[in-house]
Symmetry: none
Subunit: 409 residues, 2 copies
């Protein structure tokens, strides 16, 4: 399946209309545990989603390309209408965005992992025994104090994320290139040096700069019990994506618990809504509170994916049911279009993201009703939306919310 950028069509055609809600249950798609069995979504008791499926259109979404198992970043970019093959975003940038770090266009960002190394420098634990977040905060502050001014002409920021994860940002002129990672991805090996794969002067300079920081930083924490070393991954700059708000003419906001998903939403220019709590009904309270302030709401539900990665089929089923329970509150707000989908599939059976097309529901007063009466993988295979590329979802939502002018006479 080839993918066409609808951005220029959207820029030309958008007009004011009704509100759009994009509710993403992370890793929604699943598999039966046994032949002849039901998937997580098919097992869940979802009277509200079933009614919405009967009134609306359903189908199966391909996040990146047929057969491709996507990470969270690319999968969400697709849902926002940005082909992730065209727009590649480094993990460091996503991580920095995720903790709300105000990244400049020229900053170089990396995802950092504290690690444990043996006396000879070989890695014994790539996650430093998953130190707790308080430890992470202490270590990041220690690194900030000792290395913040260690690169003349550059500012260095070290920020904690959670557990063993932190963010490194280097700010200054002339950064760039295509930089490799230090993490060998297995224990028993030593970390690697960062190398530039772009062949540019900028890249060579940046690689040298990062290696110098890494060497100094490792010295600073060498006396720690667990986190006595570190690795950098996903070194990248903000690719400068075209603005979601400008493409679609939408004031857009994200409602998400986890930093990563706020980050990818900010990357395309959405604002993020802060709220207390981490359950689906807390997210809906935030939606209700901010309903009049925005045209478009992205709501992210994380635990469907987390439970599936743990292999916990039943917990994923219950989380889907918790989301089903809040759907009437969304419909009560009179949206023009509600989409319920996943960013990718995460079958509990596989304990991992997968490449399977994702069950998707589009509800709208203007939707074409399908023959089906339920929301599930098998039902979606016979739905009006067919098997479609995820980047075409936003244009469909725009149309159903009355937000697109006619193309041609």
């Amino acid at each position: 399946m080839a993918v066409f950028s609808e951005h220029f069509l959207m820029r030309d055609a958008h007009q004011p209309g009704e509100k759009i809600v994009l509710l993403v249950m992370d890793g929604l798609g699943g598999l039966p545990l046994e032949t002849g069995g039901k998937t997580e979504l098919e097992t869940a008791h979802t009277p509200n989603l079933d009614r919405m499926a009967a009134e609306g259109s359903i189908g199966l979404s391909i996040p990146v390309r047929a057969g491709i198992e996507p990470g969270s970043g690319p999968a969400h970019l697709s849902l926002f209408g940005y082909d992730p093959i065209q727009y590649e975003i480094g993990r460091g940038v996503l991580e920095a965005m995720g903790i709300g770090f105000a990244l400049d266009k020229n900053d170089l960002a990396a995802r950092g992992n504290f690690a444990t190394v043996a006396a000879d420098g070989t890695i014994t634990d790539r996650r430093a025994g998953r130190i707790n977040t308080d430890e992470c905060v202490r270590l990041a502050a220690k690194l900030q104090a000792a290395t913040g001014a260690s690169l003349p002409g550059y500012e260095v920021f070290v920020r904690p994320v959670e557990e063993h994860r932190f963010v490194l940002v280097i700010r200054g002129a002339g950064l760039g290139g295509d930089l490799s990672e230090t993490d060998p991805l297995v224990t028993g090996k030593k970390p690697m040096l960062v190398e530039d794969q772009s062949g540019t002067a900028e890249g060579a300079h940046s690689a040298a700069l990062v290696n110098r920081w890494v060497e100094g930083a490792r010295a600073v924490i060498a006396d720690e019990l667990k986190a006595n070393s570190l690795n950098l991954r996903g070194l990248a700059k903000d690719p400068g994506l075209p603005s979601f708000g400008e493409i679609y003419g939408l004031r857009a906001a994200a409602i998400a618990v986890y930093p990563m998903y706020k980050g990818v939403a900010r990357l395309v220019g959405m604002e993020t809504i802060e709220f207390a709590g981490d359950r689906p009904h807390h997210e809906i309270e935030a939606l209700e509170r901010m309903w009049n302030e925005y045209d478009f709401f992205f709501i992210h539900i994380k635990k469907t994916d987390s439970y599936a990665e743990d292999g916990n089929f039943d917990a994923k089923v219950h989380e889907i049911e918790a989301v089903d329970a809040v759907m009437p509150r969304i419909l009560a707000l009179n949206p023009g279009c509600v989409i319920v989908t996943g960013d990718h599939s995460t079958p509990a059976k596989l304990r991992s993201h997968s490449w399977h097309p994702v069950p998707t529901l589009l509800w709208s007063p203007r939707a074409m009703p399908d023959a089906v009466q339920t929301f599930g993988e098998r039902a979606c295979a016979g739905g009006h939306m067919g098997v479609f590329h995820a980047t075409t979802l936003l244009p469909q939502a725009m149309a159903h919310a009355g937000r697109l002018k006619r193309f041609g006479a």
Copy 2:
């Protein structure tokens, strides 16, 4: 959805074969008026189309792109296998084609609308009270006589269309550019000057020329009661589309009542068949009469769309039934492939074109039969053709009519 041009495949692979009929019910796709109800097509009693659906393959066609509500021009280009994103056609060109005006490649064509203006020049009626067509004929002749030679070095043609609509064609060297329209699209404002948005010398010259004609033409009709002014829209040149006949190796003819649809057919190089009457059975009589003369017939049914734009659900249902009634006469001619589809959806519920995928039926002695026994939107969602882009329809018809050679050994 990205669209790949199958033209080069068709040029390489076409061979003689059986005849193809493409019957387009304008705005065929619909919506139920109420939750749980049926669409227009599902409501219609269509025993012949249902039998053809059972014997053939059905599916849902996306005219331009997912979510995009198309105008008639782009929607028909797609059905003929020309991606309208790639081939953009100005409305002026379509209108000129529609009245059978023999447009040269270098002609600049515009759609004209007679309008009513107040003493201060502000528009009070953009359609001059929808004057009748006799009035339009008289006014066009008056303008032709007074302005035909008003632009030294250029020929000017003013031709009536119907009601308040006319066509202006300027013929001569060096015309072009990207020209704006004079119509402010609302009453209470004055018409605008034509401006060139291409920044070329050709464009600036053409804008000046058109503005000069408009000024003179308005003076000629300033004493009229209703049509005392005019506006120009869709100023454009023939984009020079590749020939339908050459791409597919087909002698192709159009059977249509309305000028617009004859125009778009001529634009790709089809011939048009003249006939008396305006009902579906008149069009089938023309088909029977000319059956031996062509390989491919495009039959256009307009009123399914017109009734739906009026919000008349029942009249659209009856028009679909009138088309169903003539289907046995088409099959009696022993075609190799018959396609029944719409150019886009026009749900009576919305009183407008819409973006919903269009129910499509492909009947052929070589078709893969579907499980379904009826022709309707919900049935099509489960059909063999899936959800497909309209530009892929002609290649499928070619195959079913035995008109394509194998690709590769």
